[in-house]
């Protein structure tokens, strides 16, 4: 879903750049406040994993492919603030090193794939978590469904950008129908990959999953006089 240079006009791209900078700024501040010590290296790994899986285009329909966007996955693993930064790092590396995603469109791409997927997707994830029982299976299911929805949200963000500053001649309604249609299919792939990844991390290190923090066994303090407080697992 990387927008190349030229699809969206300069003023709209510039405005999106400002929105992206603001969103990244907020994420930096909030992540600095909330990121747990053990989650810091995990966030680096999440970024690297998203880069890797974004290389794996899967076929969705005749002559069309899709790949993981990973924003919701990052949000569930390390939280929506650090998650947005993970995807922004991936997009930066892709645009600068691999010529994937236009430089003038970097703001647009950050808005769609780093902000809309993580924050919008995470809101959907939280709603689902509220409706489902507090179990690991629920976390996996909610992540999968929210991951799928996040792709459609990102495609809608593109349609909005196209409606404001699209340079092509296609009517907005046509682009809307085509984008939402194909990204619903891609969203199914996103949901499956997201659910599988979340399930795998939950199986190995459930304590590292931000979106499952409420399922964690509570901290038990050793109250022996003079004994140090420690985590009992």
């Amino acid at each position: 879903m990387h927008i190349p240079d030229g699809f969206i006009n300069a003023p709209t791209s510039l405005a999106a750049g400002a929105v992206a900078a603001g969103g990244v700024g907020v994420s930096l501040r909030r992540a600095a406040q909330t990121l747990q010590e053990r989650q810091a290296p995990l966030a680096g790994l999440v970024a690297a994993y998203i880069f890797a899986v974004q290389m794996l285009n899967f076929p969705v329909a005749a002559g069309t492919s899709g790949h993981l966007l990973g924003g919701l996955l990052a949000a569930v693993l390390v939280g929506p603030w650090a998650g947005a930064l993970c995807v922004a790092v991936v997009l930066l590396v892709q645009a600068l090193l691999f010529a994937d995603g236009g430089l003038s469109a970097l703001g647009l791409n950050i808005v769609n794939m780093a902000l809309v997927t993580t924050w919008g997707g995470y809101a959907v994830f939280l709603l689902l978590r509220r409706a489902l029982p507090a179990t690991r299976a629920s976390v996996t299911a909610a992540a999968g469904v929210a991951g799928g929805v996040s792709v459609v949200l990102a495609s809608l963000a593109f349609v909005v950008e196209y409606a404001i500053g699209g340079t092509g001649g296609a009517p907005v309604g046509t682009v809307f129908a085509a984008m939402v249609g194909v990204h619903t299919l891609i969203g199914i792939g996103e949901g499956i990959i997201t659910a599988l990844t979340v399930a795998a991390v939950l199986a190995v290190r459930p304590d590292l999953v931000y979106g499952a923090a409420d399922l964690r066994t509570p901290l038990v303090l050793d109250v022996t006089p003079g004994g140090p407080a420690r985590e009992v697992s």
Partner: protein, 113 residues
Amino acid sequence: MRSNLRLFLAGGLLVALGLAMLVSGFASSAPDGLNKVAGDHGIAASAKQHLFENGPLAGYAVKGVGNDRVSTAISGLIGVLVTFGIGLALFALLRAMRSGPGSGKGAAPTRAP
């Protein structure tokens, strides 16, 4: 606990490298959803060339490497390591800012000295 986390990170990085270097060779080369829609509806014509179109790694291919699989694998290796490095540095920096003077509200001590 700490070595356990290291092990998890090392395992995760290996998985990422395996996906980017080996599985990527089997990825679909069809246009993605956005590019397909752009192609079908005449938007693609307005695309401009990327400034780094002729860069050494442009398009996930290494300039001068003839074998497609090898070229993609090297791109994946470089991309994963660079992304991991930038991510580690960024989040370590954010952590350092948090534990800086006067910040961090009531972080629980979880590590015995």
